[in-house]
């Protein structure tokens, strides 16, 4: 496990997402009003870029075919009954910087 400094909050507009490539992972970081949530930037349906989706409350709608993914837990909330999901990453705001916690394998690989 390792925490990585990603970017300043100003780089992610309110209720939008931005993609960032770090440690071999493509991650989508969203700004939900000062709270930043990060998920894998690959829609479980056909790989759509979630960072380009429309934010709907605590979920994001994939820009390709409108699957809806919960940003808190990565689960697919629409269509109902899909058991797949995306990975989520812990985030924190410190020293005016958004940090993301990368998963164990990455650190081991590093």
């Amino acid at each position: 496990m390792s925490w990585v400094r990603i970017t300043i909050p100003e780089n992610i507009p309110l209720r939008e997402g931005r993609a960032v490539r770090v440690g071999g992972e493509e991650i989508a970081v969203f700004n939900l009003g000062g709270r930043f949530l990060a998920v894998e930037n690959r829609c479980p349906h056909k790989g759509g870029p979630l960072a380009d989706g429309i934010v709907s409350g605590g979920t994001v709608v994939c820009p390709l075919h409108n699957w809806k993914i919960c940003l808190e837990n990565g689960a697919v909330t629409k269509p109902a009954g899909e058991s797949c999901g995306v990975a989520t990453y812990a985030t924190r705001l410190e020293d005016g910087v958004i940090w993301i916690e990368l998963r164990g394998e990455q650190e081991a690989a590093a």
């Binding site: 990603i6 970017t7 939008e16 931005r18 690989a109």
Partner: protein, 801 residues
């Protein structure tokens, strides 16, 4: 048959008659009504004032209904006397009518406090449809209005006037708004909410005088303070109309006194509604009055048995965006435990009062979404021991939606009419209901303030075998209004941003359906002068390119009329090579597509191309396809290239409800397929046919003829009129082929090319205002709306893999 006379053609009286009709026929019924309207939903007068409903939309019983049930309806007749011995009533038209049974349902009248000058012009009360109509007429933008009374009615009136553009002040006697329903803290939250909406609130003011000669010009308060006001509405409470009861010699206190069977002190005279007093209480809300009507219907038809035991009225403020709900006990007292939640930032205040583990009162300000749950607890006396922590925060409902499925059958769905979920479900099953209209007719649910409409729809959807969505479709669950209503609300309430609409009228979150639609709406209504919020736009409209299946984008530059030059083609070729464009393709619309471009390359490609955006990614003006016309073609009768290029130039960069594709052809051979375009110009010898609503995509539809004109300028003008009309009236994602079909070409013609000159002029002006504010979206390459609009974020530190 006995003669039953009903005095008062209002909500309680007619609701009671409806119940009487459910019993075995016993009476010939005559209803006297002082107002000249059929029974209508008085509750919705606030909505009429606020422009959310038309006056003719709120009728509850049609003339046919009275006829069908053999009821004699005497409108415009006021009963002035009752003789309890001869058993007759006398009307102000001189008529004398005898009765066997008499039902007094005279409601109440507005209380006008002793204020000097209330007779002046410009001073109104707010009780009936005529009042509402008068206020609608008076409430002109810019007028200074004062509403005396900060209760439910006063606040609703104030918001209505303000929505119509008046500059409104609410003057309240005490230090808490809605002091009958709220505690001091709740009142403060409400006050903040009202001020935030732009309604000024003055508390602790005793109005002593209406200033002005014969017309109102202002108010004076005790102590001498004055405010300006040329429109004054008095909403200081109501007084039961009990004088007929007195004339009949009935026992009368504040209202006509009735017992639990709704009997008065005279065996053949009954009373129901706001004019009665039951166990010392006079009710002023519909739900208990409907209850009374049910009981009285049994009593009067000889089925005496059911009793009215009093009711715990629940009040709900009907101002969109200002949730206030209150029921039962409001103030703390001994032995009462309080659970409270406050969120000043969000303006939410909630308070539950419990006694011996039972809910005895609830106050909700800012978020009243769960009110039906509390009403049920109040009524059923549910045991809440051990549940304290979950009282205000139940399990979250899935998707923030309504929780119809989880509601117990005993839960009240329609608080106004007191209809439970169980009653609705059994009505749906037993009567085979399939539409909301049928449900309303049969159960009266959702005919009150309308806030349960969504729940009713959900129940129908879940249970009705052949559920039919109402014709008026709401935009989506996040903002449950029709687009037509929303456009009107955006306009009258000067809402300029998507988030503002979602916060005031919606769930605050929005989704992929409503956000782009609302984005279009604020842009269109304000002719481009809105607060742009890119987060509410689809990705294509954030980066002005069409997203592809692999997350890359396509670039289609504008090539007006499909005409290009060797130099332009060379630049396109160079760009394609420089950026390793995966494919260069001629599109189906006479232009060139560069496919498979990375987001971060977009601004550079646009700059190198030096061509404007072709808007191939958005709901906006696509292109005008042209044929070679008189310029080259041996059959050409009109200069289709120049007409097409000019049309494209005039409309490019504008956004529309759905994409708009156009065509201009030089003769009826129609080589550029203008007759299957949204707008087409079809050249004839000496004239142009302007055609609209054509399609050759998912649907194929031949365009309708809008008008035939002689000159090219006239043809362009006709196209522009239709274009702006479509922008203003179509629903989001409604192509012209559906729009023209829905409205009918006759209506479209009448409201565009054949409209009176001022109407046409107004359409032209709004179009040119929008055009003046529009710009080539690709210029954002130089001034991005956000520093990371196109660039990929680089992490501050690298992690080696």
């Amino acid at each position: 048959m006995e003669e039953l006379i009903v005095v008062g053609n209002g909500m309680a009286g007619v609701a009671c008659v409806e119940q009487i009709l459910k019993h075995a026929p016993k009476f010939h019924i005559t209803i006297f009504g002082e107002e000249t309207h059929v029974n209508y939903n008085r509750i919705l007068l606030s909505s009429v004032l606020a422009g959310e409903k038309e006056a003719d939309e709120i009728a509850l019983n049609s003339l046919e209904w009275y006829q069908k049930h053999g009821i004699t309806l005497r409108l415009g007749v006021r009963i002035v006397d009752v003789d309890p011995v001869l058993k007759t009533v006398t009307g102000d038209d001189g008529s004398v009518t005898s009765f066997d049974k008499l039902l007094l349902a005279t409601g109440s009248t507005p209380f006008v406090p002793p204020i000097d000058g209330v007779e002046k012009e410009g001073v109104y009360t707010f009780r009936n449809l005529d009042d509402a109509r008068a206020l609608v007429e008076q409430a002109q933008p810019g007028r200074k209005a004062a509403v005396i009374g900060g209760g439910l009615l006063g606040l609703e009136a104030a918001r209505g006037l303000q929505v119509r553009g008046c500059d409104v002040t609410v003057v309240h006697l005490l230090d808490t708004l809605m002091n009958m329903q709220l505690d001091a803290t709740g009142g403060r939250y409400l006050e903040a909410k009202m001020q935030q909406l732009g309604v000024r609130v003055l508390l602790n003011r005793i109005t002593t005088r209406v200033l002005g000669e014969s017309r109102a010009e202002g108010l004076e308060f005790r102590g001498g303070e004055r405010i300006e006001a040329d429109l004054v509405v008095i909403a200081a409470g109501i007084r039961p109309n009990a004088h007929l009861g007195k004339k009949a010699g009935l026992k009368v206190n504040r209202g006509i006194v009735v017992n639990d069977y709704l009997e008065t002190s005279h065996p053949d005279i009954f009373a129901v509604g706001e004019c009665v007093e039951h166990r010392g209480v006079v009710y002023g809300l519909v739900a208990p009055l409907v209850e009374q009507g049910k009981v009285l219907a049994a009593t009067i038809t000889g089925n005496r048995g059911p009793q009215f035991q009093g009711a715990q009225p629940a009040a709900k403020l009907k101002i969109m965006g200002v949730d206030v709900f209150s029921a039962g006990q409001v103030m703390e007292s001994d032995g009462v435990e309080v659970v409270r939640y406050e969120d000043p930032a969000m303006g939410i205040y909630q308070k539950l009062l419990c006694r011996e583990n039972k809910l005895v009162g609830v106050v909700l300000v800012g978020d009243a979404g769960d009110s039906h749950r509390y009403v049920d607890w109040l009524r059923s006396g549910a045991d809440l021991a051990g549940k304290r922590r979950h009282l205000l925060f139940p399990e979250p409902a899935a998707d923030g939606g309504l929780d119809a499925a989880q509601m117990p059958d005993s839960d009240t769905v329609c608080g106004c009419m007191g209809v439970t979920k169980g009653a609705i479900i059994s009505a749906i099953h037993e009567k085979g209901l399939n539409t909301l209209a049928q449900l309303k007719e049969c159960t009266r649910a959702s005919t009150g303030c309308g806030s349960c409409t969504n729940l009713c729809q959900q129940l129908l959807r879940a249970v009705a075998p052949d559920f039919e969505e109402d014709k008026k479709k709401v935009l989506c669950g996040c903002v449950p209004f029709t687009q037509e209503n929303l456009r009107e609300m955006v306009r009258t309430q000067r809402l300029r941003s998507v988030q503002e609409i979602l916060e005031i009228y919606g769930n605050g979150a929005g989704c992929e359906i409503c956000k782009p639609a609302l984005s279009y709406m604020v842009d269109m209504v304000w002719c481009g002068d809105h607060e742009e919020d890119r987060s509410a736009r689809f990705i294509n409209d954030r980066v002005h390119a069409n997203i592809q299946r692999d997350g890359t984008f396509s670039v289609v530059p504008r090539m007006r009329g499909g005409v290009t030059t060797p130099a332009e083609l060379r630049r396109i070729a160079d760009v394609a090579e420089k950026y390793h464009v995966r494919m260069v393709k001629v599109t189906g619309s006479q232009r060139i597509d560069l496919l498979g471009v990375k987001k971060s390359d977009l601004p550079k490609i646009w700059a190198d191309l030096g061509m404007p955006s072709g808007q191939a990614y958005t709901k906006g003006v696509r292109m005008v396809k042209t044929c070679v016309g008189t310029e080259f073609c041996r059959f050409g009768t009109q200069d289709s290239i120049h007409a097409g290029v000019e049309l494209e130039r005039r409309l490019e960069n504008l956004y529309t409800p759905h994409k708009v594709k156009m065509g201009a052809v030089g003769c009826p051979r129609n080589c550029a397929e203008a007759t299957v375009k949204d707008i087409g110009l079809v050249g004839q010898e000496g004239s142009w046919q302007v055609v609209v609503g054509g399609a050759a995509g998912k649907h194929v539809r031949k365009a309708d003829l809008l008008i035939t004109v002689e000159t090219t300028p006239e043809a362009l003008e006709a196209a522009e009129l239709f274009f702006q009309y479509y922008r203003e009236h179509a629903n989001y994602l409604e192509r012209t082929y559906d729009f023209v079909e829905r409205l009918g070409i006759e209506k479209v013609r009448k409201e565009t090319v054949y409209a009176p000159e001022p109407v046409k002029q107004a359409l032209r002006e709004r179009l040119s205002k929008a055009k003046a504010l529009s710009r080539d979206a690709w210029l954002e390459r130089e001034e991005p709306v956000h520093p990371t609009q196109f660039v990929q974020i680089q992490p501050l530190e690298e992690v080696l893999v």
